[in-house]
């Protein structure tokens, strides 16, 4: 029976294959194979280091504050952020072939462990780093609190893995399968899937807001400590900040057991989710609907998005964000939503990483137009959702700002996609995080320039709507011109 060390070593081969494929699929063939392998490893390492740094900063900040709310937010954010990044990797992970393991003298349990360890390797550095950094920081601040703090972090990490496996299982087994009358059931599962993830996202977003008002909410938490100290992540937060209640100890014990069970469940189900599919074989009517190339790309993209939890999440994110931000002002909501759309445009371009579009007679204009129409549609749906909520609350939506920003979003998408096409960076978010950095800057400049101009005019006490619209319209015309010369 192989030891854990041996299983870890075996998982390393699959992980290397996963990393290589995530870059090799791009098929640029501009580098030699050795350079390609080095580039793949470097790219993944950079992604991991970036996330590790981000989580470590949060860990140190939290450890050196003794506020209960800071710990609550930290644990919730760790669960959400890890789940978010793991979810981005599930599409690539789902295509990893583990079949060879079944031909080797390994038990089902050992195969499960190897698959789980390969999955863990995707973010091994961020998880290990944040755990060590948080533990060291806690020992320095308060050695007594370091033990519950560490358990709290491990529980949060386990929940994130459990959450991703649960959502992926729901997605792959219920949403991507079935047709005909099952479509209705599929939509229901879609709602359950989206609701489960986004309710957690909403919770984490609210945590970000609470972060800024942690002091104010601490008194509320303390006055309700009897109930809250039993709940996750409050029980860990209470003990981490030296507030000891019997409920908190009891809560830590219960949630630790649940986290252990969640991790065990995730390990046992991971092969079922990512390696085994059962499909019905049925005769169907051979019906083909031929459309224009632009519409064909649109339909193809929508289909691919609806079958990938990572892409689905990304596309629904601006819409979800509009739901959350509808509690604030229009301008804040638009600023945040349009920022997400730069990432969406990049990810939609990443869908073309497969070689098939290179052998088809596809013009860059067709590709950019189709993706831009999708980006603008997502923006309009997001704004539409926000306006409906505004209407319920008796607020008047600002159509003029929304129209202006639509023009900027169109221009941003066109220009970001043209740059991505010229740079030949057809990557997904998981493998192309470093390439995205180059595209975020022009993307943000295009989206925010008209808003910045409007802001300056507002400060000067002048009318800002006309400058806003003019700047956006100029961007739109520029993008249209670029699109026509392609």
């Amino acid at each position: 029976m192989p030891s854990l060390k041996e299983l870890w070593k075996i998982s390393g081969y699959f992980y290397r294959d996963l990393v290589f494929r995530s870059v090799y699929e791009v098929r640029t063939h501009k580098k030699n194979l050795e350079k390609l392998i080095r580039s793949a490893k470097r790219s993944m390492l950079l992604n991991k280091m970036f996330l590790a740094l981000m989580l470590s900063v949060m860990a140190i900040y939290t450890a050196f504050r003794s506020n209960v709310m800071d710990f609550v937010i930290f644990y919730a954010m760790i669960t959400f952020l890890l789940a978010f990044f793991f979810l981005q990797a599930t599409t690539t992970f789902a295509t990893q072939n583990f079949d060879i393991l079944y031909t080797l003298p390994l038990s089902g349990d050992e195969v499960s462990k190897i698959v789980s360890l390969t999955f863990f390797r995707i973010f091994d550095i961020p998880i290990t780093t944040v755990t060590i950094v948080f533990l060291v920081a806690m020992i320095v601040r308060s050695p007594v609190s370091s033990a519950p703090a560490l358990i709290g972090l491990l529980v949060s990490e386990s929940f994130s893995i459990g959450l991703v496996v649960y959502l992926s299982r729901l997605f792959y087994s219920k949403i991507t399968t079935g047709s005909g009358w099952k479509s209705v059931v599929r939509i229901l599962y879609y709602v359950v899937w989206a609701f489960a993830f986004f309710s957690f996202y909403a919770f984490a977003s609210a945590m970000g807001w609470l972060y800024r008002n942690a002091e104010a909410y601490s008194s509320f938490v303390m006055s309700n400590s009897k109930i809250l100290s039993f709940l996750y992540p409050f029980c860990f937060a209470f003990l981490s900040s030296n507030v000891r209640t019997p409920n908190a100890f009891f809560g830590v014990a219960v949630w630790s057991v649940l986290a252990y069970l969640s991790l065990r469940w995730a390990t046992s189900k991971i092969t079922e989710v990512f390696t085994k599919f059962e499909w019905d074989v049925e005769e169907v009517e051979l019906k083909l609907e031929i459309s224009s190339p632009t519409v064909a790309f649109l339909k193809k993209d929508v289909r691919l998005i609806s079958r990938s939890p990572a892409l689905c999440f990304l596309v629904l994110l601006p819409i979800m964000e509009s739901l959350i931000l509808s509690h604030g002002s229009v301008s804040t909501a638009i600023v945040v939503i349009s920022a997400f759309l730069v990432v969406v445009a990049f990810s939609l371009h990443g869908l073309e990483k497969e070689g098939i579009t290179k052998i088809l007679p596809v013009k860059t204009k067709t590709l950019v137009t189709a993706k831009t129409l999708l980006v603008v549609t997502i923006y309009l749906i997001s704004v539409g959702v926000m306006n409906v909520i505004f209407a319920f609350k008796g607020k008047t939506p600002d159509f003029f700002i929304e129209l202006s920003t639509t023009l900027s979003v169109f221009a941003m998408s066109v220009i970001v996609l043209i740059i991505a096409e010229k740079m030949n960076v057809r990557r997904d978010l998981y493998s192309g995080l470093s390439a995205l950095v180059f595209l975020i800057i022009p993307g943000f400049v295009i989206v925010y320039l008209p808003l910045a101009i409007a802001f300056i005019f507002k400060i000067l006490g002048e009318d800002y709507l006309i400058p806003l619209f003019t700047a956006s319209f100029i961007e739109f015309l520029l993008a249209l011109t670029l699109l026509n010369v392609l």
């Binding site: 063939h29 580098k31 991507t176 083909l288 079958r307 052998i359």
Partner: protein, 246 residues
């Protein structure tokens, strides 16, 4: 008339030269075989023709330099699948047919029935067997009636019936003045199908002609396999290797 002209083709991957000044031509009404050992440069040559890799030299399809305009003149079956795996075959054909601006979908339906994949057209491609995926790949290359078919190991995984259908389709295609560039490792198939053959080794074409011309060149009386092994310098030592292993 030449359907495909390749002149002085060079394909580089970094410092490695995969294809080294290769020239050949495929005429209408001809099945042209491109044979070579693994890593000889066959697939790289083909990838350059279909626009998957950068190259130096000249490639023309029906007199037009390769580019977006020639993509509808070529039907390509790659050695490795180039399919959108989360789509179903039906959705995939719909996408390819739309991008290629095909008005008549009856051809697609006929091909689906001919290759016997009606029961699988509504399942994600990722879940299909290798043979069924190969059929999807072959159908998507044939749906637009291109004058030039480029088939890189097209019979991989196909069952006997589908193999026969594809071979018959290739013959019919060249009878109707089309052309086929065909790459395979199965010498018996190349021998029975190809009108002319080019043998490529280490990135260079080392022999070209009809099977009789190649036999004469290699001074071999036996099969195409014997000729091929002789030309590529792989003939010697086979018996000793087999003896040593067994």
């Amino acid at each position: 008339m030449s359907v495909l002209t390749v002149e002085d083709l060079v394909v580089r991957y970094g410092n490695t030269v995969a294809v080294d000044h290769v020239s050949f031509r495929v005429d209408e009404g001809e099945i042209f075989g491109l044979l070579g050992p693994n890593g000889a440069g066959k697939s790289s040559t083909i990838k350059a023709i279909v626009g998957l890799v950068d190259f130096e030299g000249k490639i023309e399809v029906l007199g037009k330099p390769v580019g977006i305009e020639t993509k509808n003149l070529i039907g390509y079956v790659p050695e490795e699948f180039m399919l959108l795996e989360s789509l179903t075959p039906l959705e995939f054909f719909e996408f390819v047919a739309s991008v290629r601006r095909i008005g008549n979908v009856e051809k697609v339906k006929t091909l689906i029935r001919a290759f016997g994949i009606e029961r699988f057209v509504n399942r994600p491609i990722a879940t299909l067997s290798m043979g069924t995926k190969q059929k999807v790949s072959v159908i998507s290359a044939l749906i637009h009636d291109p004058p030039l078919l480029i088939l890189d190991e097209p019979l991989n995984g196909l069952d006997a019936r589908s193999s026969r259908i594809l071979k018959e389709l290739m013959q019919r295609h060249v009878e109707k003045s089309g052309a086929v560039l065909f790459s395979t490792h199965i010498m018996e198939i190349a021998e029975s199908l190809c009108d002319r053959i080019a043998v490529i080794n280490k990135g260079r074409i080392i022999a070209e002609g009809t099977i009789e011309e190649l036999k004469e060149l290699a001074s071999v009386e036996g099969s195409l396999e014997d000729v091929f092994l002789k030309l590529t310098g792989q003939y010697e030592g086979i018996k000793e290797i087999v003896d040593a292993i067994s």
